[in-house]
Protein backbone atom coordinates (compact mmCIF):
# COMPACT_ATOMS: atom_id res chain seq x y z
CA UNK A 1 0.00 0.00 0.00
CA UNK A 2 1.49 3.38 -0.87
CA UNK A 3 1.74 5.25 2.45
CA UNK A 4 0.95 8.97 2.36
CA UNK A 5 4.01 11.00 3.09
CA UNK A 6 2.18 13.76 4.91
CA UNK A 7 -1.04 14.15 6.77
CA UNK A 8 -3.60 16.24 5.03
CA UNK A 9 -6.08 16.29 7.90
CA UNK A 10 -6.51 19.22 10.23
CA UNK A 11 -6.50 18.89 14.02
CA UNK A 12 -10.29 19.29 13.95
CA UNK A 13 -10.55 16.28 11.63
CA UNK A 14 -8.47 14.31 14.11
CA UNK A 15 -10.64 15.34 17.02
CA UNK A 16 -13.63 14.05 15.10
CA UNK A 17 -11.98 10.79 14.13
CA UNK A 18 -10.97 9.80 17.69
CA UNK A 19 -14.50 9.72 19.16
CA UNK A 20 -15.73 8.01 15.99
CA UNK A 21 -13.21 5.21 16.47
CA UNK A 22 -14.06 5.17 20.19
CA UNK A 23 -17.68 4.56 19.24
CA UNK A 24 -16.53 1.84 16.86
CA UNK A 25 -14.70 0.21 19.80
CA UNK A 26 -17.95 0.30 21.78
CA UNK A 27 -19.78 -1.35 18.87
CA UNK A 28 -17.09 -4.02 18.51
CA UNK A 29 -17.24 -4.64 22.28
CA UNK A 30 -20.94 -5.37 21.83
CA UNK A 31 -20.17 -7.80 19.01
CA UNK A 32 -17.47 -9.41 21.18
CA UNK A 33 -19.97 -9.80 24.01
CA UNK A 34 -22.02 -12.13 21.78
CA UNK A 35 -19.24 -14.73 21.72
CA UNK A 36 -19.06 -17.17 24.62
CA UNK A 37 -15.92 -16.82 26.74
CA UNK A 38 -14.01 -20.07 27.24
CA UNK A 39 -11.91 -18.53 30.03
CA UNK A 40 -12.80 -15.92 32.66
CA UNK A 41 -11.85 -12.34 31.73
CA UNK A 42 -10.63 -13.43 28.29
CA UNK A 43 -11.48 -11.13 25.38
CA UNK A 44 -11.26 -11.69 21.65
CA UNK A 45 -9.68 -8.29 21.15
CA UNK A 46 -12.02 -7.06 18.42
CA UNK A 47 -12.35 -3.74 20.27
CA UNK A 48 -8.59 -3.35 19.80
CA UNK A 49 -9.08 -2.99 16.06
CA UNK A 50 -9.64 0.81 15.98
CA UNK A 51 -6.53 1.31 18.14
CA UNK A 52 -4.49 -0.87 15.83
CA UNK A 53 -5.56 0.85 12.62
CA UNK A 54 -5.11 4.29 14.25
CA UNK A 55 -1.44 3.74 15.13
CA UNK A 56 -0.24 5.29 11.88
CA UNK A 57 -2.63 8.20 12.09
CA UNK A 58 -2.76 9.47 15.65
CA UNK A 59 -0.20 10.86 18.08
CA UNK A 60 0.31 9.39 21.56
CA UNK A 61 -2.27 11.60 23.29
CA UNK A 62 -4.96 10.82 20.73
CA UNK A 63 -4.19 7.11 20.98
CA UNK A 64 -4.35 7.31 24.79
CA UNK A 65 -7.76 8.98 24.52
CA UNK A 66 -8.90 6.21 22.17
CA UNK A 67 -7.64 3.63 24.69
CA UNK A 68 -9.63 5.33 27.48
CA UNK A 69 -12.78 5.31 25.32
CA UNK A 70 -12.23 1.65 24.47
CA UNK A 71 -11.74 0.54 28.08
CA UNK A 72 -14.71 2.58 29.30
CA UNK A 73 -16.88 1.27 26.44
CA UNK A 74 -15.99 -2.34 27.16
CA UNK A 75 -16.75 -1.86 30.87
CA UNK A 76 -20.13 -0.31 30.08
CA UNK A 77 -21.09 -3.09 27.67
CA UNK A 78 -19.94 -5.86 30.03
CA UNK A 79 -21.31 -4.15 33.16
CA UNK A 80 -17.96 -4.35 34.93
CA UNK A 81 -17.24 -0.64 35.37
CA UNK A 82 -17.65 -0.72 39.16
CA UNK A 83 -15.91 -4.06 39.70
CA UNK A 84 -12.27 -5.05 39.97
CA UNK A 85 -12.64 -7.00 36.70
CA UNK A 86 -12.45 -3.51 35.22
CA UNK A 87 -8.95 -3.15 36.67
CA UNK A 88 -7.92 -6.38 34.92
CA UNK A 89 -9.26 -5.01 31.65
CA UNK A 90 -7.57 -1.64 32.22
CA UNK A 91 -4.22 -3.24 33.06
CA UNK A 92 -4.36 -5.64 30.09
CA UNK A 93 -5.43 -2.95 27.65
CA UNK A 94 -2.79 -0.50 28.91
CA UNK A 95 -0.02 -3.09 28.62
CA UNK A 96 -1.18 -4.00 25.12
CA UNK A 97 -1.36 -0.30 24.20
CA UNK A 98 2.13 0.50 25.47
CA UNK A 99 3.68 -2.49 23.69
CA UNK A 100 1.91 -1.73 20.41
CA UNK A 101 2.79 1.98 20.49
CA UNK A 102 6.38 1.21 21.51
CA UNK A 103 6.83 -1.31 18.71
CA UNK A 104 5.20 1.05 16.25
CA UNK A 105 7.64 3.81 17.22
CA UNK A 106 10.47 1.31 16.77
CA UNK A 107 9.18 0.46 13.30
CA UNK A 108 9.09 4.16 12.42
CA UNK A 109 12.63 4.69 13.63
CA UNK A 110 14.12 1.65 11.91
CA UNK A 111 12.88 1.25 8.31
CA UNK A 112 14.47 -2.22 8.14
CA UNK A 113 12.18 -3.37 10.97
CA UNK A 114 9.18 -1.70 9.35
CA UNK A 115 9.80 -3.47 6.04
CA UNK A 116 9.70 -6.83 7.82
CA UNK A 117 6.70 -6.08 10.07
CA UNK A 118 3.02 -5.35 9.69
CA UNK A 119 0.02 -4.75 11.92
CA UNK A 120 -0.02 -8.53 12.47
CA UNK A 121 3.16 -8.17 14.56
CA UNK A 122 1.57 -5.38 16.59
CA UNK A 123 -1.67 -7.30 17.07
CA UNK A 124 0.17 -10.41 18.27
CA UNK A 125 2.53 -8.46 20.54
CA UNK A 126 -0.38 -6.52 22.04
CA UNK A 127 -2.38 -9.68 22.70
CA UNK A 128 0.57 -11.43 24.37
CA UNK A 129 1.32 -8.36 26.53
CA UNK A 130 -2.30 -8.12 27.65
CA UNK A 131 -2.47 -11.85 28.45
CA UNK A 132 0.82 -11.77 30.36
CA UNK A 133 -0.26 -8.85 32.56
CA UNK A 134 -3.65 -10.42 33.29
CA UNK A 135 -2.08 -13.77 34.23
CA UNK A 136 0.42 -11.99 36.51
CA UNK A 137 -2.36 -9.99 38.17
CA UNK A 138 -4.35 -13.17 38.63
CA UNK A 139 -1.34 -14.85 40.26
CA UNK A 140 -0.68 -11.84 42.48
CA UNK A 141 -4.19 -10.89 43.59
CA UNK A 142 -6.74 -13.64 42.91
CA UNK A 143 -5.76 -17.30 42.76
CA UNK A 144 -2.03 -17.31 43.55
CA UNK A 145 0.36 -19.67 41.73
CA UNK A 146 -2.60 -21.89 40.74
CA UNK A 147 -3.41 -19.22 38.12
CA UNK A 148 -0.57 -20.59 36.01
CA UNK A 149 -2.98 -23.35 35.01
CA UNK A 150 -4.94 -20.89 32.88
CA UNK A 151 -1.82 -19.58 31.12
CA UNK A 152 -1.63 -22.12 28.22
CA UNK A 153 -5.26 -21.60 27.26
CA UNK A 154 -4.88 -17.85 27.64
CA UNK A 155 -1.76 -17.67 25.49
CA UNK A 156 -3.16 -20.08 22.91
CA UNK A 157 -6.39 -18.15 22.50
CA UNK A 158 -4.55 -14.83 22.69
CA UNK A 159 -2.17 -15.84 19.91
CA UNK A 160 -5.08 -16.92 17.71
CA UNK A 161 -7.15 -13.80 18.34
CA UNK A 162 -4.11 -11.48 18.06
CA UNK A 163 -3.29 -13.02 14.69
CA UNK A 164 -6.87 -12.69 13.47
CA UNK A 165 -7.25 -9.07 14.62
CA UNK A 166 -3.82 -8.16 13.19
CA UNK A 167 -4.67 -9.68 9.80
CA UNK A 168 -8.03 -7.91 9.82
CA UNK A 169 -6.40 -4.55 10.66
CA UNK A 170 -3.71 -5.03 8.02
CA UNK A 171 -6.19 -5.93 5.31
CA UNK A 172 -8.49 -3.08 6.28
CA UNK A 173 -5.79 -0.39 6.21
CA UNK A 174 -4.45 -1.69 2.90
CA UNK A 175 -7.74 -2.00 1.05
CA UNK A 176 -10.18 0.49 2.52
CA UNK A 177 -10.51 3.61 0.40
CA UNK A 178 -12.75 5.09 3.07
CA UNK A 179 -10.01 4.73 5.70
CA UNK A 180 -7.38 6.31 3.45
CA UNK A 181 -9.71 9.22 2.93
CA UNK A 182 -10.71 9.82 6.53
CA UNK A 183 -7.31 9.03 8.07
CA UNK A 184 -4.95 10.63 5.59
CA UNK A 185 -7.15 12.76 3.39
CA UNK A 186 -6.09 10.76 0.32
CA UNK A 187 -7.74 8.19 -1.92
Amino acid sequence: MPQPTERLLTSTDHRRLVPFLGALSLFLSTIEYLFPKPVPFFRLGLANLPLLVGLDTFNFRELALLLALKVAGQALVNGTLASYVFLFSLAGSTASFLVMVGLHRLMRRFPAVKRRSSLVSLGLAGALASNTVQILLSIQFIFGPTSLVIAPLFYGLGTGSGLAVGLLAQTFTQRSHWWKKVAYGTN
Binding site: P40, S117, S118, V120, T146, A151, G166
Partner: protein
Protein backbone atom coordinates in the same frame (compact mmCIF):
# COMPACT_ATOMS: atom_id res chain seq x y z
CA UNK B 1 2.56 -11.77 6.53
CA UNK B 2 6.15 -10.62 6.98
CA UNK B 3 9.21 -11.92 8.81
CA UNK B 4 8.55 -10.34 12.22
CA UNK B 5 4.88 -11.38 12.04
CA UNK B 6 6.08 -14.98 12.00
CA UNK B 7 8.53 -14.23 14.83
CA UNK B 8 5.70 -12.93 17.04
CA UNK B 9 3.50 -15.85 16.04
CA UNK B 10 6.31 -18.24 17.02
CA UNK B 11 6.66 -16.41 20.33
CA UNK B 12 2.96 -16.89 21.05
CA UNK B 13 3.17 -20.59 20.23
CA UNK B 14 6.32 -20.89 22.36
CA UNK B 15 4.67 -19.21 25.37
CA UNK B 16 1.66 -21.49 24.99
CA UNK B 17 3.85 -24.60 24.79
CA UNK B 18 6.15 -23.65 27.68
CA UNK B 19 3.28 -22.82 30.05
CA UNK B 20 1.42 -25.99 28.98
CA UNK B 21 4.53 -28.05 29.72
CA UNK B 22 4.97 -26.34 33.11
CA UNK B 23 1.34 -26.98 34.03
CA UNK B 24 1.40 -30.58 32.83
CA UNK B 25 4.20 -31.64 35.19
CA UNK B 26 2.51 -33.86 37.79
CA UNK B 27 2.45 -32.99 41.49
CA UNK B 28 1.07 -36.17 42.99
CA UNK B 29 0.14 -39.69 42.00
CA UNK B 30 -3.61 -40.00 42.67
CA UNK B 31 -5.96 -37.57 40.94
CA UNK B 32 -7.59 -35.29 43.48
CA UNK B 33 -9.82 -32.27 43.55
CA UNK B 34 -8.47 -28.92 44.73
CA UNK B 35 -10.90 -26.15 45.58
CA UNK B 36 -9.17 -22.86 46.22
CA UNK B 37 -10.91 -19.88 47.82
CA UNK B 38 -9.82 -16.80 49.74
CA UNK B 39 -10.15 -18.85 52.93
CA UNK B 40 -7.72 -21.53 51.76
CA UNK B 41 -7.38 -24.65 49.64
CA UNK B 42 -9.53 -27.74 50.21
CA UNK B 43 -8.43 -31.07 48.80
CA UNK B 44 -10.93 -33.87 48.14
CA UNK B 45 -10.60 -37.40 46.77
CA UNK B 46 -12.43 -38.05 43.53
CA UNK B 47 -13.91 -41.30 44.76
CA UNK B 48 -17.15 -40.03 46.32
CA UNK B 49 -20.14 -38.04 45.12
CA UNK B 50 -20.51 -34.82 47.07
CA UNK B 51 -21.51 -31.16 46.95
CA UNK B 52 -18.89 -28.67 48.01
CA UNK B 53 -19.90 -25.20 49.12
CA UNK B 54 -17.01 -22.87 48.38
CA UNK B 55 -17.36 -19.47 50.09
CA UNK B 56 -16.25 -16.29 48.35
CA UNK B 57 -16.76 -12.53 48.59
CA UNK B 58 -20.05 -12.71 46.65
CA UNK B 59 -21.50 -15.74 48.40
CA UNK B 60 -21.31 -19.51 48.04
CA UNK B 61 -20.28 -21.28 44.83
CA UNK B 62 -21.66 -24.82 44.65
CA UNK B 63 -19.28 -27.42 43.21
CA UNK B 64 -20.71 -30.83 42.37
CA UNK B 65 -18.65 -34.03 42.31
CA UNK B 66 -20.25 -37.10 40.74
CA UNK B 67 -18.37 -40.36 41.09
CA UNK B 68 -19.72 -43.30 39.09
CA UNK B 69 -17.98 -46.69 39.20
CA UNK B 70 -16.21 -47.47 35.94
CA UNK B 71 -16.42 -43.92 34.64
CA UNK B 72 -14.29 -40.82 35.24
CA UNK B 73 -15.50 -38.67 38.13
CA UNK B 74 -17.09 -35.48 36.89
CA UNK B 75 -16.79 -32.10 38.58
CA UNK B 76 -18.71 -28.95 37.74
CA UNK B 77 -19.98 -25.68 39.17
CA UNK B 78 -23.73 -25.95 39.54
CA UNK B 79 -24.49 -22.60 41.12
CA UNK B 80 -22.61 -19.37 41.67
CA UNK B 81 -23.52 -15.87 42.85
CA UNK B 82 -21.42 -14.24 40.11
CA UNK B 83 -23.07 -12.20 37.38
CA UNK B 84 -21.96 -13.80 34.13
CA UNK B 85 -22.02 -17.48 35.23
CA UNK B 86 -19.02 -18.30 33.04
CA UNK B 87 -17.92 -20.87 35.64
CA UNK B 88 -21.21 -22.75 35.14
CA UNK B 89 -20.92 -22.46 31.35
CA UNK B 90 -17.41 -23.98 31.48
CA UNK B 91 -19.16 -27.30 32.05
CA UNK B 92 -17.86 -30.52 33.52
CA UNK B 93 -14.24 -31.49 34.06
CA UNK B 94 -12.97 -35.02 34.62
CA UNK B 95 -9.28 -35.22 33.73
CA UNK B 96 -6.08 -34.22 35.50
CA UNK B 97 -5.09 -30.67 34.60
CA UNK B 98 -8.61 -29.47 33.84
CA UNK B 99 -10.03 -26.57 35.84
CA UNK B 100 -13.02 -24.31 36.36
CA UNK B 101 -12.69 -20.82 37.78
CA UNK B 102 -15.07 -18.20 39.09
CA UNK B 103 -13.07 -15.00 39.03
CA UNK B 104 -15.62 -12.69 40.71
CA UNK B 105 -16.10 -15.09 43.64
CA UNK B 106 -12.39 -16.05 43.88
CA UNK B 107 -13.08 -19.78 43.52
CA UNK B 108 -10.72 -22.00 41.56
CA UNK B 109 -11.48 -25.71 41.05
CA UNK B 110 -8.82 -27.98 39.64
CA UNK B 111 -8.15 -31.70 39.23
CA UNK B 112 -4.50 -32.35 40.06
CA UNK B 113 -2.32 -35.44 40.09
CA UNK B 114 -0.59 -37.71 37.61
CA UNK B 115 -2.46 -38.19 34.33
CA UNK B 116 -3.68 -41.74 33.86
CA UNK B 117 -1.96 -43.93 31.27
CA UNK B 118 -3.53 -43.54 27.87
CA UNK B 119 -5.11 -40.24 28.84
CA UNK B 120 -4.81 -37.05 26.85
CA UNK B 121 -1.74 -34.87 27.31
CA UNK B 122 -3.62 -31.66 26.76
CA UNK B 123 -6.99 -30.32 25.73
CA UNK B 124 -8.03 -27.44 23.54
CA UNK B 125 -11.31 -25.57 23.37
Amino acid sequence: MKLFDFVWLAMGILLTSVTAWAVASPASTQPRLEVQTDAGVWVYPLTATRTIEAPGPLGVTDVQVRAVTGKPTQVWVSDSPCKNKICIEMGKISRVGQWVACLPNHVFVRISGTPTAGGLDATAY
